[in-house]
């Protein structure tokens, strides 16, 4: 990929030392064509995740532009309803399942978590690689469907009965629900990897109360993924069964229920919002701390808020269903819960303000994006408060007001922090600094374009324009605002082009970054940029919350890990006491092959249930291939070694 040769800037780790050479040999990843598919290092997989997700951001953006173009005048015949429905469904599904989660949770998490933990690799790197290929498989299924006129056209939520067997002929909705299976398995796999890495591979000394906020949030998100994603798997799985083998889960005539789907979907759907937003908040917390040049104020309250957000996120799903006519008691409960979730988010905002207030705010490019986040997300959050109120929600639900709201929340909560994060970690990932001037242009173009488009949509919503309409009548007088909204797309597109130019330019001629260009406190800044394949020459230990700021110069390092095999250190989940050593399984082609066979079974099952029995043996074979112990292993163990029980 785009990772250049390591740029060695740290005199302690010149790569020339004997240890560095030995580690580099041990931890090297295979090269060549097959090697590309065998690579299991977390930085590589993380970058792949991010690059792929970014491609889908761009594709989703193209779809958004098509939507805005279609709505630019009443009764426009540019895109007919058939294609329009596919386009907005693809836009939503792409942005949520192929961009937001893979970028913010999977890609960024896989890249940064082991570095922040002080680990040599992520836990279960093969599972991690497998997750990536499965994600790509899901993306190909969805977009392959779209280019062959089989794009789902039932909305990214795919409500039954519209998406059910009776009203959605062909395989469009099947493509959607099987794409869900792909991407959710991928997200769940990564969640297991990340959570295990955080709990087991933290550097000695990085106890829970010294864990960076970003790790806390990744842990909470992983848990949210583990408990929320099964709901959408069930929802889409039951939908698939209804469509393909004639079950009746959502057929009211035969005892099924259409609201059941909505409950299952939103039980996933709302935590999903936090799965997307929390990484953004984590990035902002990290950046605010770094650029305020002080320890973040209110570490504990922020951590508590993050955990609380994770919990409350599971009890607000019904606010997506107010219009279905639920009993008033449950409406009140879910209103209260939805309002309650404002408190932890607000608390984080206050802590950020206080940190900046009491710090010395260094106004640099990533911080500019953070301010963009503050502004945009604040608007989204506040309109969210309005939506939590049942009567107001009954008016603006399913209108462009809601579209405006959640774009403020999701673009504000994910895209702005993402760009902040990209500009912040760009030097770590590539070894070179991104260009500030272009970055500033990027910001302002995008910021202006975004607000032009989406602030306008609030008014369209209040004027009664529903979502998901492919056109509208001239007598509704919605054209003016729609033109205004569509004009913002030009700016956003320009901004993104500037960003791409910046990336290309900076990769080639950006300033060499050095280990720690921002002077940040995280462990990821302690090695060369980009990180060597073994991440840390010596696995570090930490004695404070902000290791590079606080740890004494004589902070010990871990020794005694073998350098002839990929040995990693496992520490205790709570107090990070070194517990035992583990062996990283190393590169393997089998995860890729397994992903291929699993994908084949998944895709085949859209067309015939026989794909399951026929597809199962290859899956089993590739999995045994993946798991079967081979090679030198087992490494001879010292005789009389006592095993931890």
């Amino acid at each position: 990929m785009t990772v250049a040769e390591p740029i060695i800037a740290n005199d302690q780790d010149t790569g020339k030392s004997e240890l560095a050479r030995r580690l580099a040999r041990t931890w090297c990843q295979p090269k060549g064509f097959l090697g590309w598919f065998s690579n299991t290092h977390h930085t590589v997989i993380g970058i792949r995740f991010m690059v792929t997700a970014f491609i889908f951001l761009l594709l989703g953006g193209v779809l958004a532009a098509m939507i805005r173009l279609q709505l630019i005048r009443p009764e426009n015949s540019l895109i007919g309803p058939d294609l329009y429905n596919q386009v907005f469904t693809m836009h939503g599904s792409t942005m949520i399942f192929l961009f937001a989660v893979p970028m913010m949770f999977q890609g960024f998490g896989v890249y940064i978590v082991p570095l922040m933990c002080g680990a040599r690799n992520i836990a279960f790197p093969r599972l991690n690689a497998f997750s990536y290929y499965l994600y790509v498989g899901g993306a190909l299924v969805l977009w392959g469907g779209f280019v062959t006129n089989t794009g789902p056209d039932v909305g990214w939520f795919a409500y039954v009965p519209l998406s059910g067997p009776a009203y959605s002929p062909g395989h469009r909705a099947d493509i959607w629900s099987q794409m869900i299976t792909f991407t959710e398995v991928s997200a769940l796999g990564v969640a297991i990897c990340i959570a295990t890495t955080i709990l087991r591979h933290r550097a000695p000394g990085m106890t829970l109360n010294r864990m960076p906020i970003l790790l806390w949030e990744k842990l909470v998100i992983s848990m949210a993924v583990i408990f929320a994603m099964p709901a959408v798997m069930i929802a889409s799985g039951l939908l698939l069964l209804d469509r393909l083998v004639g079950t009746h889960f959502f057929n009211p005539a035969q005892g099924g229920d259409v609201l059941l789907y909505q409950h299952l979907f939103w039980f996933f759907g709302h935590p999903e919002v936090y799965i997307i937003f929390l990484p953004g908040a984590a990035i902002v917390s990290t950046l605010v701390e770094c650029f305020s040049r002080r320890r973040i104020l209110g570490y504990t309250p922020i951590v508590v808020s993050v955990v609380a957000t994770g919990f409350i996120g599971f009890s607000v799903w019904v606010h997506h269903m107010f219009a279905t006519g639920l009993p008033q008691l449950s409406e009140s409960f879910f209103t209260a819960a939805s309002l309650m979730i404002v408190i932890p988010t607000g608390l984080q905002f206050f802590c950020w303000v206080a940190t900046m207030w009491t710090g010395r705010l260094q106004l640099q490019l990533p911080m500019l994006w953070c301010f963009g986040f503050f502004f945009v997300f604040l608007i989204g959050g506040l309109s969210g408060v309005m939506l939590a109120s049942v009567p107001v929600d009954l008016q603006v639900h399913d209108t462009y007001f809601v579209v405006a709201h959640f774009h403020y929340v999701l673009i504000g909560g994910a895209l702005f922090p993402m760009f902040a994060g990209i500009y912040f970690w760009f030097p770590k990932i590539t070894g070179r600094m991104a260009n500030t001037t272009l970055g500033t242009w990027h910001f302002w173009l995008f910021f202006i374009g975004f607000n032009t488009t989406f602030f306008t949509l609030h008014f369209l919503g209040l004027r009664g324009m529903p979502r998901r309409v492919y056109t509208y009548g001239a007598d509704m007088h919605w054209q003016g605002l729609n033109v205004l909204a569509s004009s913002g797309v030009v700016f956003m597109t320009a901004g993104l082009l500037v960003f791409l130019a910046n990336v290309i330019r900076s990769l080639r001629m950006g300033k060499i970054a050095g280990n720690n260009p921002w002077g940040d406190a995280g462990l990821e800044w302690s090695m060369s940029s980009p990180p060597p394949p073994y991440n840390f020459l010596h696995v570090p230990t930490v004695s404070g919350r902000d290791p590079l700021w606080e740890d004494p110069p004589d902070q010990p390092v871990v020794v005694g890990l073998r350098d002839d095999i990929r040995e990693t250190l496992v520490t205790h989940s709570l107090d990070t006491d070194p517990q035992h050593k583990d062996e990283d399984p190393g590169p393997s082609i089998w995860p890729f092959l397994t992903a291929l066979t699993v994908s084949a079974a998944f895709v085949g099952s859209i067309f015939t249930p026989w794909a399951v029995p026929i597809g199962a043996p290859p899956v089993i074979v590739t999995m045994i291939g993946w798991l079967w112990p081979r090679g030198q292993s087992p490494t001879p163990r010292p005789s009389g070694e006592i095993w931890v029980r």
Partner: protein, 625 residues
Amino acid sequence: MVSSNETSHLAACKCWPAIPALCLVLLGGFAGERSAFAQKPLILQPTIERNYQPHPYQGQLEGDDGQWVRPAKDYASTRYSSLDQLNASNVKTLKLAFTFSTGMTHGHEAAPLVVNNTMYIVTPFPNNLYALDLTKPGAPMKWVYEPLPTPASQGVACCDVVNRGASYDDGKIYYNTLDNQTVAVDAVTGREVWKTRVGDINKGESMTMAPLVVKGKVLVGNSGGEFGVRGWLTALDGKTGKIVWRAYTAGPDKDVLIGPRFKPFYPQDRGQDLGVKTWPPDSWKIGGGTVWGWISYDPQLNLIYYGTANPGPWDAEARPGDNKFTSGIFARDPDTGEAVWFYQFSPHDLYDYDAVNENILLDLPINGQNRKVLVHPDRNGYVYVMDRTTGEVLSANVFAPITTSRGVDLKTGQLQYVEEKRPITGKVVQGLCPASPGAKDWQPSAFSPRTGLLYIPHNHLCMDEEDLTPNYIAGTPYVGANVRMYDGPGGYGGEFTAWDPIEGKVVWTNQDHFPVWSGALVTAGDIVFYGTLDGWFKAVDAHSGTLLWQFKTGSGIIGQPTTYKGPDGKQYVAILSGVGGWAGAIVAGGLDARDESAALGFANAMKDLPHYTNKGGMLYVFALP
């Protein structure tokens, strides 16, 4: 290390949506039987009379000359013959006397008539009338009359192209053709005397019922309740075929022939233009209420009694209101057609409970008082005993399992529907008993004055129903329901029941695998005849129901047995065999029971009938050797 042992679980089990699919692919062959009665208590079951004491009938019946001139034998519709040559001791030697093939392979529901040593048989579509000379050995054909009805009329016959027979009066045989013509044929020569078209197939009308001739008037009614027709009863002049009067079932009073004489017993049936007011605007015009069943006549009171069929469509939500005057019984003056009283068995009928079943006119001691009553086993599962002068319901007792209603309030005459069993649009309601064909459909029962019992051939079916929005398109079915029928509790489909009309209890009952879709006949020899769908023609003891004799015919029996004294003085029993009708449509129409809704859901209950019998059309006549 095996770093991701768990991955195998993860990836393999993430395919779980496909796992059931796998199982069902592997195990697709296995499936359980549907039974709605796993644990659920039935609401109503018939009462069995433990200590039955025979109480011979005290009233008068018409005289019997050994002929059979109308399907129900007499005006009181008893289907009782005073011939007593056959009795419990000799019936087992009953032998086939002669047979005659009709050449048709649809449902033969007609009763063979015997007048002046000639037997008359009406076949299903194309409704040929055969006259057989009984005086000659083997009963050769005398003549055949072919009315040549338009073949397209088969497309509006809801439940097979049956015909329920002819009536004889004044030297003529009267019957109806499927394409809505009433014909009068000279009984001797077979020449057509007149032919009157009384309905239009393009509106979905057809005719299947057997006419009744009262005082020179031929009373005929139409069929097509499943086609959105407007039901009527018409009187034709027996000599000329001119329409004398026509009484519609629904509509304004002048169409229904409601005038000053109309005095229903219950207040809900009184009022002006109820035939309009109890329907959504203009729905009465396509609201069914056809008259395709049996008519009885009381010469003393000079009243005819007949039931009206179900309102259309089946989807009851499409027709709020009581839907007068469907699913009820009319008493009319045969001379003018004027209505005298009306009673509605199933107001706002929810389950296709037509009320066209036979009305047996008897004089019975009820509560110690001798009353002029009519006995009516209704589709809704109750045997009604009503005062036939006033229309008062004297008793309504359960003769088959019922879940759709809780009983009949004798004070108000109202049927008590069970709210949970009300079919809803877009939702399958399960365990509805009796099913659409009712506890008993058209198959007529017989009454023996010697035992005082009513012999009821009937069904034992339940169903699931889902209502759908119906579309009225003239000439096409107007139903609006998906139905799936199955055997009732106990897992059998039919019964033949001896019923005590005074006590309102079952005396004995014979279970049958299939609905007993044939008529009944009882003779003075205390033998009851009936046939089964799998082709057995049976003679059972009138007191105990013990099987005395049976004969396997070539096809399923849905006809009406008749008996007569032959020219040789011997007693003969005649029956048409030829499976079909609604119940037998699966065989007659070659239906595919993989679709549980075939034949309006009846095919599901009759899935295995094709294993038992095949299409056919044959007259069988039996006599002692």
